[in-house]
Symmetry: C2
Subunit: 287 residues, 2 copies
């Protein structure tokens, strides 16, 4: 998996750099470039592997991977704003509104969302129908019935007097982080017009495991290694998988989800080795 992840990282950074090179120079473009640099690129990896499993070339899938990472970057820039999670550190660097200002962060996020849709219209991806399937699926995953909906619930939960229960948190995370992960993992069958169900099952379990691992890292991780502030959820009295289940049970639940994710890959046999490794990596990472 590591060699492939290194390759995907380089490819997707190059694709993003090329898209940004077409834009007018200035603070806006600089802030966009800053926001899309670095990160684990797990979503891009999901796109590229899901495409490979469906016989789609790296060249065809690359704009989809870049779109997903541009969208993910926008969501981080807006989530970090003072009016939202108010974070000053991301990927070990000052957040965009700290490095520039709030207006630039809002606009850079806005333009990264636009760029994501622009990338999905890239003719290299495949037929017009394939691109429209991607665009429609992407819009469902990121808008007011997907990621943004989950983020709105998260903000509302912070203001509420009662912390969320396990069912509510699972639902929230399925939108906030799960929807884009599911889109990324099903990009291959979407392009190929094949059955998305097995990879959707895989990604649903993977996304939840990923979030539980994030909550564990917020308790056990260090700022130096994760590159972002830790201990924030606890300090804010926010319900998380760890606060609700305890550390041991949260770890056990993440492990069970990884096994469930692996089950979703069975139709793909040995070809899905990288995605199996990824599921394992997601709960064993320290960043």
């Amino acid at each position: 998996m590591e060699a492939r992840l290194t390759q995907v990282k380089a490819l997707v950074q190059q694709a993003l750099d090329q898209s940004l090179a077409d834009l007018p120079a200035g603070d806006l473009r600089d802030a966009m470039a800053y926001a899309v640099t670095g990160g684990k690129r797990l979503r891009a990896f999901l796109v590229m592997e899901s495409a490979r499993l469906h016989g789609i070339s790296d060249q065809a899938a690359l704009s989809v991977a870049a779109a997903v990472e541009a969208l993910h970057a926008y969501s981080l820039v807006h989530d970090d704003l003072p009016a939202m999670d108010d974070d000053d550190l991301r990927r070990g660097q000052p957040t965009v509104h700290v490095q520039w200002d709030e207006a630039t962060a809002i606009l850079a996020g806005d333009a990264l969302q636009t760029l994501a849709f622009q990338l999905l219209a890239d003719p290299r991806i495949g037929t017009a129908e394939a691109r429209l399937r991607l665009i429609a699926g992407f819009a469902r995953a990121v808008g007011a019935q997907g990621m943004v909906w989950g983020q709105a619930l998260d903000i509302a939960a912070e203001a509420a007097s009662e912390p969320l229960d396990l069912q509510a948190i699972t639902r929230l995370q399925d939108g906030k982080t799960g929807a884009l992960i599911r889109f990324a993992a099903t990009a291959g069958p979407l392009i190929a017009d094949a059955d998305t169900a097995p990879l959707d099952d895989y990604a649903r379990a993977l996304g939840l495991a990923f979030q539980i691992a994030d909550d564990i890292l917020d308790v056990t991780g260090s700022e130096d290694v994760t590159g972002k502030r830790v201990g924030k959820d606890d300090a804010a009295g926010k319900a998380t998988f760890v606060s609700l289940l305890g550390l041991d049970q949260a770890r056990a639940r993440a492990e069970a989800l990884v096994q469930q994710a692996e089950g979703g890959l069975s139709p793909y046999g040995e070809a899905a080795g990288n995605l199996r490794d990824l599921a394992r990596f997601v709960i064993e990472r320290d960043t």
Copy 2:
């Protein structure tokens, strides 16, 4: 023109209401619905008339009109934020961040942009190729080389020590308000795969006339009639077409642009009467 504008207003509001009805209930959806209500619907009108001139039915064009208005609404919600233009009044009502809060305004704007792209993928519009032409053109018009780029320039100009000159303001407005107006006016030929140049010429002049009229209204208009704060540009020492040209010359320039816009319509003959009326209306409106 008025009967058609009334018809377009009703159609586009219905289309937006229907799209929002599919979303999960809550503050996010309420804020989106609030933001897309009201307004002059000039952009939707441009879409519908441009489509009609190319033999495209209202039913086919309606999702494009709704997309343009959803995008316009997102841009207003984000522009009104405290970190941007800091406006508390819009269309005679409190702005979204005043009515709810900043986080909800940021997220509602984000989700309205997503909704706009989702609407452009609507199969009722036409062939897959037609929809992709629209999506690609739309992304260019609204992202970091179009509207958002213009807004970033505008924010930067406020912080700069020297006010902008006429050329710089014209360029800025061509992005900030012009790009979406040009997209709307060329939606018909984009769907029909016809020549966009005449309507692009029309819309370029119309957009600039529209902006000059806005600057004039900021000086001569009243809050009661415009539904937004007036006198803001002057108070902020911001360069506008009025501050640079004076009121009389600004009016003369707007009049010349309207005539130029009418010239762009000549290939369409009498069928373009509504678009001719619109150009006249744009500089004679008091709101």
